[in-house]
Subunit: 246 residues, 4 copies
């Protein structure tokens, strides 16, 4: 089952390289400890995605040991890395790809501040312009859901569908982010933790000043449009990778 | 007294290399400052363990300067490193190995957040799924005990025997973790600090939502069984090294 | 339009190298994530400044991809880097250069603690001598202003003109700093975050002791004069780069 | 004036190398930003000490650019580095060396947590065993004193003379530590910040449990004696560099 057209094979190779390399950003920004976070990327033009292998340390990731799955989360036999198990969060990633066709990348971490908000089941309010730019408002909370079936994936999709935010805080658990591709989802994971941390620290000594909703709208719209993106829900902001984030 | 069978000698060499190398993980995850933390590993098939030398900086650790001890904590004369003193916590490590036969590794640190809970004598409540996976509930507190006799070792063993947690917060002191081997105990030290930090930060702005006990049970059981381990108290979870931590 | 006198060309090249290199200090001191912060430097002897390109990661900055602008923020065509867009904050930098002729460098970040104070619209009070040395009193708050016109630049200039502080917290946004050159503005960004963090943490457990105004004056005056600078508002302190900061 | 006996010259060279190299530990443990911290070491057998040059970045320190001073803080002309100014804190270091003959090293930083306690004028209470080992009780607060005369030095000496602690929090300013040599003073700076941070974080969520005074005494005495040191006030603990810190 591993004979793909040259175009698809090339796309697979590119996504393998991206997914393997991008995990270093999770380490760089202190979003993960040990092996506790994972990235996946959809293969453009095919019903496939590439995801981190389970239990492999971040220093040991290569394009070849990433794992190729179909959209039900089954490992494609006979492909590089297929002798290992994919991330234990694979079912959640697969559910997102099946149900959000515009999503090209998914990231999951237990980054400290995002998870701290998630443990209280509290959304991060939008009181800094960087969050308005990036997420267009609050970072919402998804349901408590236990690993092992589709409940995490369902919770992510239910919360983010039609929402401007590309990040969801899963109650008592951690954060999932989506993007137009794996890099964009990683950017969302970095910015979600940055917002969660800054707003947390601000609130420790008093109440932050709210940003008026119309200003949030202007910031979000501008952030997408300046960089030539079609603003269309969460993934409209994905091109902001070309911007300076504010 | 340093002539061992080839099998034992090989095991000693392997544990020396592991223990020396694993200290770099304590540095990487900011669990230690100066020389304030130590790792030991039991030698499989012998009544011996290997431990960090006292007062040597983490940059200067090698397999050869780790110290080989018997289960009473006596340095084995004539072996590499035996000209130095072992860690001043050796008695506590030895007590654990004598009294918990399934333990193959012990780690001690004063990591900031774990020690902060320990200074209040307060267990870390289980409000994040990562802690449920890893420790199966709260991270408990052991007694106030002063270095110099067996009281620290006794406190560790009394607290962890029959407990799911592989980590114990010693009151006013720091944290000890156990594992099936040194690497597993290091993982427990990393995850204990991560839980202690995340739950601390969550509680700074309100009360985290409890996880129902039956969900904690399901998470803990799954985390062990998915990776083919026999769930049997604290060390049943040790195989989770193969997992993605959630 | 890119034929400059040799003297101006040499100055441009020097500022390009400085601006490219100095961004590494923002990374080193954890003032930025992803691409969310930028530095510019005025070209001495010309109505020009050099600024970071938009959306380029800090690992990829070189003297050649920095962007040369006139004081209205227009990219000088035909110069290295002119095929890319300058930082989306360019209008604010340009406004400062047009209206504060002594300013030779501008830095913008969303550093965590400075932004946390900014989100509450609260100035950092002067309760540590390092802040008295460096900023001569509190770090003030500027207005809420939305990117897209001159309002951010106007807010910076209105707040810092005649003020001892070289740093301003823009409400709900982040921090801008100025200096006699790019390096001096970077120093101000580093010291502003350091003060914001230390004073925040101090206030978490009680009220810091105020420093008497006359002591603040003495500290600020000495800090400038010891190093042979003319104390003249915010930029008088710029020579403190030669000092040990206290 | 730069012809010393070979023994003294050798001692000078050794201290120059130590002082230059040890500044990297201040960076490693995040005790300093920019150029805001300094180390000095007494030259054994001579009325001289070596100190950091003013305003030089930590990446640029070499044995040759450290500055040799007499015990009044005057630069010894004609010696390497004597073309630059010594640290602006030189007068305080010199005062300590003149008045505390057993002190062989002095360190000054504005490390975040120590300075946060100093800004409230509050001693760090002894609620963790690591602090009992290292400082034998609380870390005391010295007076508010302004740079420029002997008042900082007097405050350090008045607070630490006869005190077990090798660290003093100078009100609204930062921390000074002393040791038998420069390395020992650096260790004290690292451990003081570690205690200040851990106790701060512990107190954020409640009141830490006090350690009984007799237990503090036993911990402090043991920490010194185990390593064959004569316990004699603050500097008795200096040999603990050989220990594992607990």
């Amino acid at each position: 089952m591993s004979d793909f057209t040259p175009e698809v094979q090339e796309a697979i190779d590119r996504v393998r390289a991206d997914v393997a390399r991008l995990h270093a950003e999770l380490v760089r920004y202190n979003l993960v400890v040990w092996t506790g976070g994972n990235i996946s990327g959809r293969v453009p033009g095919a019903d496939l995605f590439v995801i981190k292998p389970s239990g492999v340390g971040y220093d040991d990731l290569t394009p070849e040991n990433q794992i190729l799955c179909d959209l039900d989360g089954n490992v494609i036999p006979g492909t590089p890395g297929s002798d290992r198990s994919p991330s234990s969060d694979t079912a959640a990633h697969a559910y997102v790809y099946r149900n959000m066709p515009d999503v090209g990348g998914v990231v999951h971490t237990h980054s400290t501040y995002a998870t701290a908000w998630a443990a209280r089941g509290e959304a991060v309010p939008c009181v800094i312009t960087g969050q308005a730019d990036e997420f267009g408002g609050e970072i919402p909370v998804g349901p408590f859901a236990i690993i092992g079936d589709d409940s995490i994936g369902r919770g992510i999709v239910a919360t983010l569908t039609g929402h401007r935010s590309r990040a969801v805080l899963m109650q008592n658990h951690g954060v999932f982010t989506i993007g137009k591709d794996a890099k964009d989802a990683v950017k969302a994971a970095v910015m979600a933790e940055d917002s969660a941390r800054t707003v947390h620290i601000s609130r420790q000594l008093g109440e932050p000043i709210p940003i008026p909703p119309e200003s949030i709208d202007r910031l979000f719209d501008r952030y997408q449009n300046v960089y030539g993106q079609t603003p269309q829900g969460a993934l409209g902001a994905s091109g902001t990778d070309e911007g300076d984030r504010q």
